[in-house]
């Protein structure tokens, strides 16, 4: 593990001008959502736990989309700017370089999650749900963010164009999120049922709902989250394979 490279990645992702603009935009979005949610809660139109489920789902969707977009640029932009060759010329292993990039993106998400804390506090005010929501965010949320970070960085290791890497990463996200767009009746049978039971996105949403709304115990919650754990293991293996294949384009 090379600290200099990790520091460089954190600086260029989490502490960059681009990062600050993203924090501002997400903060603005969370402010609008929170005002809307508190209004419906005050009018007793929606239970507080339902409000939190929706907020958490939205925050996770935004998080995953952002890390996908950032991850897809990690190696492909270095290829486009001609900086990858200098990194590969150092004695660092390719996996070391990839891990530094994962840490850079996770540090960005960590700041994003810290910005969400006051909003979660406001939305859980007067209940005992704050710790539960935080636990879900830093367990299920972190698993999802880590997985999609690894997948999008792996894609950017294979492709030379940032645009193509971003498009492909978003496609992967949409495919894994497919069951979310299906109706409840469709999801009860056949392939749609299988997809719904194995998709990391739909099972993470089910986990959130079962823990916060249905008040299921930890055992059920852990069994819900198994596909997400399986997905992160696969994602890490994909990243290890992709980083071992990381090279400059032939004849470039």
């Amino acid at each position: 593990m090379n600290l200099a490279l990790i520091k460089k990645e954190i600086k260029s992702q989490a502490l960059s001008q681009k990062g600050i603009w993203i924090y501002l935009a997400v903060t603005l979005l969370m402010s609008c959502l929170s005002v809307a949610f508190i209004s419906v809660k005050e009018l007793s139109l929606l239970a507080q736990s339902e409000v939190l489920v929706t907020f958490l789902k939205l925050f996770m969707a935004i998080s995953v989309l952002l890390v996908i977009i950032l991850g897809a640029t990690m190696f492909s932009s270095e290829k486009e700017q001609g900086t990858l060759e200098n990194l590969l010329l150092t004695p660092l292993s390719k996996l070391n370089i990839a891990v530094a990039k994962v840490i850079g993106i996770l540090s960005f998400w960590l700041i994003l999650s810290l910005l969400a804390l006051p909003y979660i506090y406001a939305l859980t005010f007067g209940t005992d749900l704050f710790i539960k929501v935080i636990a879900l965010m830093y367990f299920v949320g972190l698993l999802l963010v880590c997985s999609f970070t690894c997948v999008s960085i792996a894609i950017s290791a294979f492709l030379s164009s940032t645009k193509n890497a971003t498009l492909l990463s978003i496609m992967v996200f949409l495919i894994t999120a497919l069951p979310v767009f299906l109706s409840t009746a469709t999801k009860k049978f056949g392939i749609a049922h299988f997809l719904d039971q194995t998709s990391p996105i739909s099972t993470s949403q089910l986990t959130i709902k079962n823990y916060l709304v249905n008040k299921y115990g930890l055992l059920v919650v852990f069994s819900n989250v198994i596909p997400v754990i399986f997905f992160i293991v696969v994602s890490i293996l994909i990243l290890i394979y992709a980083s071992s294949k990381l090279t400059l384009k032939e004849g470039e």
């Binding site: 090379n2 001609g82 004849g251």
Partner: protein, 261 residues
């Protein structure tokens, strides 16, 4: 000129590189670079120069053949080779928002330069390439010439035994070219670094290199000390009353398309 004792530092034996699309970039190439050489690696565009440099540095794997750098087999231990070589790639990119000081500190750490030496080494190399006064200026404000100097500084930050400079004067004005030549010469004489350089500026090569290799279509067309080649081809190339130059030899051997066995 007094001949130096010849200690081989880079040897290529029958090195071939065939890309996955079937293109034969390098074909049974044999090279011998000695310690302390300023070795010019010449050839027309697409001759396989950059591919050869990347294979020597462990970035590309040869399809056949053996490459040894300072006695280390590149295929078996690429990371050991990377520790003792510095490279200025042809299309070198920079982290443009960093200052040159930050950039060099980063690479000093990536090359495992001891912490105690880094704060001394970075100003030293910035002084050597003549941009110490710009050390706190973001790289995106640098001219092309300054970026090339910074690239050379990066390639020598870890005091390598060998540096590879792929077209280091490409796109520079005459003064910039002269300045880079002086840096290369200083590196070779003061830091005792072996220099492996590619360039299309044959006059520049004949001024700074003691030995050259000319490749054509991935094959070695000629290799030797410049004065030996001038003696050899002086009697062969008769179409000019003036003494022959490296340029004459280059055009002759690349047009002949012959290979040196």
């Amino acid at each position: 000129m007094e001949r130096k004792k010849e200690v081989p530092i880079i040897t290529l034996k029958n090195v071939t590189k065939k890309y996955s699309n079937g293109f034969l970039a390098v074909n049974k190439l044999n090279l011998n670079v000695n310690e302390g050489d300023i070795y010019g690696f010449l050839g027309p565009n697409g001759a396989g120069k950059t591919t050869t440099i990347r294979m020597i540095n462990g970035l590309l794997t040869p399809s056949e053949g053996e490459i040894k750098v300072n006695g280390v087999n590149v295929l078996k231990d690429p990371s050991e080779v990377k520790k003792i070589v510095g490279v200025l790639p042809e299309s070198n990119g920079y982290y443009e928002l960093m200052t040159s000081y930050e950039y060099l500190m980063l690479f000093a750490e990536l090359y495992n330069v001891p912490k105690a030496d880094r704060s001394r080494r970075v100003p030293d190399v910035l002084t050597m390439v003549g941009i110490l006064d710009k050390k706190d200026v973001p790289i995106h404000e640098y001219s092309r010439g300054m970026k090339q100097r910074l690239g050379i500084a990066k390639s020598i930050i870890h005091s390598p035994k060998i540096i590879f400079l792929d077209e280091p004067t490409l796109g520079l004005d005459p003064q910039g070219q002269k300045d880079i030549q002086k840096i290369i010469f200083d590196l070779n004489t003061k830091e005792k670094t072996t220099v492996f350089i590619t360039s299309h500026l044959l006059k520049e090569i004949s001024e700074i290199c003691n030995k050259v290799a000319i490749v054509n279509k991935g094959t070695l067309a000629e290799e030797g000390e410049i004065h030996d080649l001038i003696n050899k081809y002086g009697t062969i190339i008769n179409d000019s009353p003036n003494p022959i130059t490296l340029e004459d030899i280059f055009f002759y051997v690349t047009k002949q398309g012959g290979t040196k066995q």
